[in-house]
Structures are given as structure tokens and as C-alpha cells.
């Protein structure tokens, strides 16, 4: 196996993992604290990308566009929480799944009406559009390194926030025993709103980071949402560390599977059959991973302590 290819693919896996973590972190936070399944989280990611693309086009600057898109994405998230989601706290998970499913339908179509069904243009900022030469002469897009860096920085910041601050203490307490927290007199409604805003911001951030490399279109959140759920289930619901671990695992397994699985299958099966079997296997690899993790450890790898859900 080519070591340079392996290294580049590992970098690619890391980049996908970081992106997944940004989406999954918000999802798992909201679930951990509020016991709320928000399927519309993927739509919030999509809206982040749309805002960033639009504001970047208007201002002509990626950083300025991003700076405007982030609060706008948070605003949409907060509005959703106020108008729809808060009615579903404490309800059956099934009701939450359905209600947020309805929100997905609505917002996806609304975006299609406002921006049209054609994918949006969102170029990579000029200062990161070049490729960096790595070890052994391999090149790697600078913007992807920027994503890895930015994502890891946010992960570190999030960890500090959760592990070191009073807000983080409440978050951790809420994840393991929300009822106790309420009994102790915490303003749970305010905490919920804050956590929700934080989740919306993370999703929006992921969207604006992903916009320049992915196609900005109404359905861009759907695929990612499923992946993000796979991530938090593998990691253990409600756990930030679990989400981080799960995201890197999924990113690496998916990327490395896509690059090497078909060749590996060719060692066992004739080439004609391998061309059929290999891609099918690599498509389902992360689901196999998730099923395997859950069969061995039915609450994921690092479940939040005390969570019995």
C-alpha cells in the first residue's frame, strides 16, 4: 500500500470527521440536555451554508460573510425553538421526530422557493484556494487544512466550555440528570434556549465551513443528518467526547473504506464481482460499524454518565 496515499486519505478522513463532529456536537448537546431529538438540525446546517454563500456574495469577503451568517443561523435556530420546538420538550421521542420531520419538509421547500432549486455558487476564499505541498510531494488543498484546524479549535473550545465553565457544569449536570437540575432551581428554560442557540451555531458553522467544498443545495443537510446521528449513536448519546470519537471514527472508516475496500475485495473475489461488491460494501461500511458497536455495546462507546436512554 502506498504510504503517501494512506497519509493523504487519513487527512481526508480527519477532515470529514471534524465536519461531522461540528454537526454531531450540537445534536448530542440538545439531546443530552433537553432529551430532544432534533431532526431539523441538518436543515440548520444547510441554512448556515445558504446564509454564508449569500452574505459572502454580497460582501465579497468570506470572513465577513461568515461573520454575518453565524448570528443569522443562530437567529433561525432560536426562532425555531420559540415557535415550534419548545412545545415538544418532555413529549415522546416519536412526537419530536415527527414534528422536526415536518419542519424539515417546510424549511427545505422554503429555501427552494427563496433561492431556487439550482445549487448556489460559493467559491473557496482566495487566501485558501491554493494547494499545499506535503511530505513526499503530495499536494493537499489549503482550505481543507483550514477546516481541520478550525474544527479542531472549535472542538477544543467546546471542551473547555463544557469542562471548565459554570455553563458547562450545568450542561453536564443536565445530561446526566435533568430533573435534579430543575429541582435545584436552575432556570431550565433559559438553559434550554442557550444550549439550543449553541447547537444552532455549531450547525451553522459547519454549514459555512462546508459550503465552499460541497454543493450548496436544499437537500445538503439530509445526508449529513443521518451521518451525524450515526456519529452520536456510536459515540454514546449526550456525550461530547463520544461525539468527537464517533466523528473521527466514522470519518476515517468511511474515507479509508472508500479508498481501499474495493482493492481489498479484489484479493478475495474475481475483479468483475469485486466491482459490484466492493462499492456496495464501502457504502454500507459505516452502518456496519454502527451496528457492530451497538451489538457489542448497546449504549455506544462513551455514553453520558447516568443516561439510560
Amino acid at each position: 500500500m502506498d504510504p503517501i496515499l494512506l497519509a493523504v486519505q487519513t487527512l481526508n478522513g480527519l477532515q470529514l470527521g471534524v465536519l461531522l463532529f461540528l454537526v454531531a456536537a450540537g445534536l448530542t448537546l440538545v439531546f443530552g440536555i433537553m432529551d430532544f431529538i432534533n431532526l431539523a438540525h441538518g436543515v440548520q446546517y444547510m441554512i448556515g451554508a445558504y446564509f454564508a454563500a449569500t452574505f459572502t456574495a454580497v460582501t465579497g469577503s468570506f470572513l465577513l460573510g461568515a461573520a454575518l451568517a453565524l448570528p443569522a443561523a443562530v437567529l433561525v435556530g432560536v426562532a425555531l425553538e420559540r415557535v415550534v420546538f419548545r412545545h415538544f420538550y418532555g413529549r415522546d421521542h416519536l412526537d419530536q421526530v415527527l414534528a422536526t420531520f415536518g419542519v424539515i419538509f417546510f424549511l427545505t421547500e422554503l429555501v427552494r422557493v427563496i433561492w431556487g432549486p439550482t445549487p448556489l455558487s460559493f467559491p473557496v476564499p482566495a487566501w485558501a484556494s491554493h494547494s499545499v505541498t506535503l511530505f513526499g510531494g503530495a499536494t493537499y488543498p489549503a482550505y481543507r487544512l483550514f477546516i481541520i484546524g478550525g474544527g479542531l479549535a472549535v472542538a477544543a473550545g467546546l471542551y473547555a466550555l463544557v469542562a471548565r465553565t459554570r455553563f458547562g457544569m450545568l450542561v453536564r449536570a443536565g445530561a446526566s440528570n435533568p430533573r435534579m437540575l430543575q429541582a435545584l432551581g436552575t432556570d431550565i428554560k433559559r438553559l434550554f434556549l442557550l444550549v439550543f442557540a449553541l447547537g444552532a451555531m455549531l450547525a451553522g458553522f459547519a454549514g459555512l465551513m462546508a459550503g465552499p467544498i460541497l454543493s450548496v443545495e436544499p437537500s445538503m443537510g439530509d445526508n449529513l443528518l443521518i451521518l451525524a446521528f450515526v456519529v452520536i449513536v456510536i459515540g454514546g448519546l449526550g456525550s461530547i467526547q463520544g461525539a468527537f470519537l464517533g466523528a473521527l471514527l466514522v470519518g476515517l472508516v468511511d474515507t479509508l473504506g472508500r479508498s481501499f475496500l474495493t482493492d481489498a475485495v479484489k484479493l478475495v473475489l474475481p475483479a468483475s464481482a469485486a466491482v459490484d461488491v466492493g462499492p456496495a460494501l464501502s457504502s454500507m461500511l459505516i452502518y456496519v460499524l454502527m451496528a457492530a458497536v451497538l451489538i457489542v455495546s448497546p449504549t455506544g462507546l462513551l455514553p453520558a454518565k447516568g443516561a439510560t436512554r
Partner: protein, 386 residues
């Protein structure tokens, strides 16, 4: 409440009494979901064709019922049942995707109506499953791939890397390419349908060091690939050829990353003929965007229906209408238009390049002729004679 809904549903059916001399067309397109943009092009193209006939195709009062297949085969079957049994359409036209066409093919060709595909052209319906009630105004799926394959071969490229989504059209597409490409295939990679990130594949390409890459990545997947390919700095090092990947539906999103890439097509907005000039000009004026081949082929479908119904003197006599459709006496936006014996057109295929129109809008523009009067490879399997 349920009963009111049901009543409303029944009323909707009753609202269309079948007139004596009118033409009823069902237009099936993909209007919701991720691929809605292609369906929009197709619909707008067809409706412009109807408009250019003054709302009267073949001189008959024309009622077009537009239905959305949602890119779900069973929904498509249900919608087509509605068109055939409720709206009593004479013709079902449109259909963007092959899996949808395969699903609605049997119910329509076994009914009293004609099926006219304005885009999808899967192999079975061009070959042994061809039907006297089915026509196609685009191409057989393999042809565009074959045209790119021939061009790549002709330009002296020896080693190519092939990349397509892991689904039937992807596999067929690469097979079509290989049929006319004479060099060596260094690797053939199939990705997950709907894949977002192509970094793994791009790294593989870099490591395989081919002379060129050929890909088929429709819709958003293509946008992702083209952007990421350019960002990896490969666009100028290893030429990227494609089919159904870079076109007027995706160029607004890829912009500079897509410019300069080559593909093949039977039609471009800059083809020099009277019918095409009128089509492109009026289409842009009416819809505010540059039409793609989806729109052009659908426009041709409407023009074909217009000419054939006029020639047959109505839709009453199915045999007469079929004979008129076969003759296809209309001014196609692609220039000359003629059907092969399997009811697929025999068209010229051009090498096309993503470039800018005089006013700066990105579009696929004609560069040179690759195949003249290219008949598809399945026509021989079609037992139909006329």
C-alpha cells in the same frame, strides 16, 4: 374532515370533462427533492414549446397536466395511472430519470397513450423492449459517454481513470465510454450515490497518475466533485472529462471550477440554426436562466407533438399519429432530426466546453463534431419494423 378531503379529491377528477377535439398531455417531471433543478429545466422547456404553438399543439386546444414523480418509482406509477385513467391523456411526455422511465414504461405503452421521453433513454427500451408507442427525443444513455470516449481516444490519451456513482446508470455510462475508448483504464472507481466528499477518490487519482479522468456525476455530486477537483489543483494537471456532470444546471454553482471542462452533447445554446436562436432567446427572456439540454430536448418533444398532431389531423387515429411521429417533420433546435427504427433519434454529437456566452453567462458551447449521425448500439436488438 377526511370526507371533505376525499370529496375534494373526487371533484378534482371531475373537473376535466373530455372535450371532443382537444389534446391532453401529461408532463411527468422531477419537481421536488434534490434533483428538482433538472425537472424544472425540462418542464420550462416543454411549456415554452407549447407557448410557441400558441397554446395549441397541432392546432388543438391543449391541456398539459404536470405531475411530479418525486424521483420515486412507485409514486411515478401512481401519477401515471392518474394521467391515463383520470385525465385520459393522449400523450405522456417528459421523464428525467431512467429508473422513473422504466417504472412508467409498461403502464403507458400498454395503454392507449404514447410515451415520449424527453431525457431518459435506458438500454432495454432502445433494444429488445422497444415499443411502437414509445418515442425518445434525447439519446440512448450510452451515446453521450461513447462520444466523450471517442474524443478522448482520438486526442491521443492513453491512460484514463474512471469515476461514477455506484448505480446502474453509472455502470452503464462507464461501459458506454469504454466501448469507444481504445486506451488503458488504470482504475474504475464507483462511489456511493449522493456522496458529498470526493477527497478519497481525488487522492486515489493523484496516486494513480492517469493522463485523464472521465467521470459521470449528475447533480449535486458533480458540483462537489468539480469544485473539489479544482481545489486539489488537479484541473490543470489531469484533464477532467465528463458527461451529464458539467452543464447549465450545475455551472451556476461551480462557476470558475467548471469552466474549461469538456463533455459531449447533441445540443448547445450556441448551435447555429433559426429554431435554436428563437428557443434560447425566448427561454432566457421568459425564465431568466440559460436552458440546458434537458430544456432543449423537452422543447423538441413539444415541437414534435405539434408537428405530428397537425400532420395526422388530430389524435383520434393512433396509427396515423404514430406514422406522423415517426416522420418527425419539425424544425429541431439541434438542426436535423430523424428517428432510427427503434424510435430513438440519430443525432450528431459535439464536443462541448464549459465557457461563457457573449453576455457572460456560463454555458456548454460547441467545439467540434465527434460523431455524425450517431445511431445507438441497441437499435439492432429492437424487433420493430416500419
Amino acid at each position: 374532515m377526511k370526507r371533505t378531503v376525499l370529496a375534494a379529491a373526487l371533484m378534482a377528477g371531475l373537473a376535466l370533462p373530455a372535450g371532443a377535439q382537444d389534446l391532453r398531455i401529461g408532463l411527468m417531471s422531477t419537481l421536488t427533492g434534490p434533483q428538482a433543478v433538472t425537472g424544472q429545466h425540462l418542464r420550462d422547456g416543454f411549456m415554452l414549446g407549447v407557448e410557441h404553438a400558441g397554446g395549441k399543439l397541432g392546432g388543438l386546444e391543449t391541456k398539459v397536466t404536470i405531475v411530479d414523480d418525486q424521483l420515486k418509482p412507485d409514486v411515478a406509477v401512481q401519477e401515471v395511472e392518474g394521467l391515463l385513467k383520470r385525465d385520459n391523456v393522449n400523450i405522456v411526455a417528459g421523464v428525467v430519470y431512467s429508473n422513473i422511465l422504466m417504472a412508467v414504461y409498461k403502464p403507458v405503452v400498454e395503454s392507449d397513450a404514447f410515451l415520449i421521453s424527453a431525457n431518459a433513454g435506458p438500454a432495454p427500451v432502445a433494444g429488445n423492449r422497444c415499443s411502437e408507442n414509445f418515442f425518445n427525443t434525447s439519446w440512448q444513455n450510452d451515446q453521450t459517454h461513447g462520444a466523450v470516449g471517442k474524443h478522448v481516444s482520438d486526442s491521443g490519451i492513453k491512460k484514463v481513470f474512471l469515476l461514477a456513482p455506484n448505480y446502474q446508470a453509472g455502470k452503464d455510462g462507464l461501459t458506454g465510454f469504454k466501448r469507444h475508448f481504445k486506451g488503458e483504464v488504470v482504475d474504475e472507481v464507483y462511489t456511493k450515490l449522493g456522496q458529498l466528499d470526493f477527497s478519497a477518490e481525488i487522492a486515489k487519482i493523484q496516486s494513480a497518475k492517469p493522463d485523464a479522468v472521465y467521470t459521470f456525476m449528475p447533480g449535486g455530486m458533480g458540483v462537489n466533485l468539480v469544485k473539489q477537483y479544482a481545489q486539489a489543483g488537479l484541473k490543470d494537471k489531469i484533464p477532467l472529462f465528463s458527461a451529464f456532470t458539467v452543464d447549465e444546471t450545475t455551472l451556476p454553482a461551480t462557476e470558475d471550477a467548471g469552466l474549461g471542462l469538456f463533455s459531449a452533447s447533441i445540443w448547445t445554446p450556441d448551435l447555429d440554426n433559426v429554431a435554436n436562436k428563437r428557443f434560447v432567446e425566448d427561454f432566457r427572456k421568459k425564465n431568466g436562466y440559460v436552458p440546458s439540454y434537458f430544456a432543449a430536448q423537452a422543447y423538441d418533444a413539444a415541437r414534435l407533438i405539434d408537428a405530428a398532431v397537425r400532420q395526422a389531423g388530430g389524435v383520434k387515429d393512433k396509427a396515423k399519429l404514430r406514422a406522423a411521429l415517426r416522420q418527425a417533420k419539425f424544425d429541431s433546435v439541434r438542426g436535423a432530426f430523424a428517428f432510427n427504427k427503434n424510435h430513438f433519434p440519430v443525432s450528431d454529437f459535439y464536443l462541448v466546453e464549459a465557457a461563457k456566452l457573449p453576455d457572460g453567462a456560463p454555458a456548454m458551447l460547441k467545439r467540434k463534431l465527434v460523431f455524425e449521425k450517431y445511431a445507438d448500439d441497441y437499435a439492432g436488438e429492437c424487433p420493430m419494423k416500419w
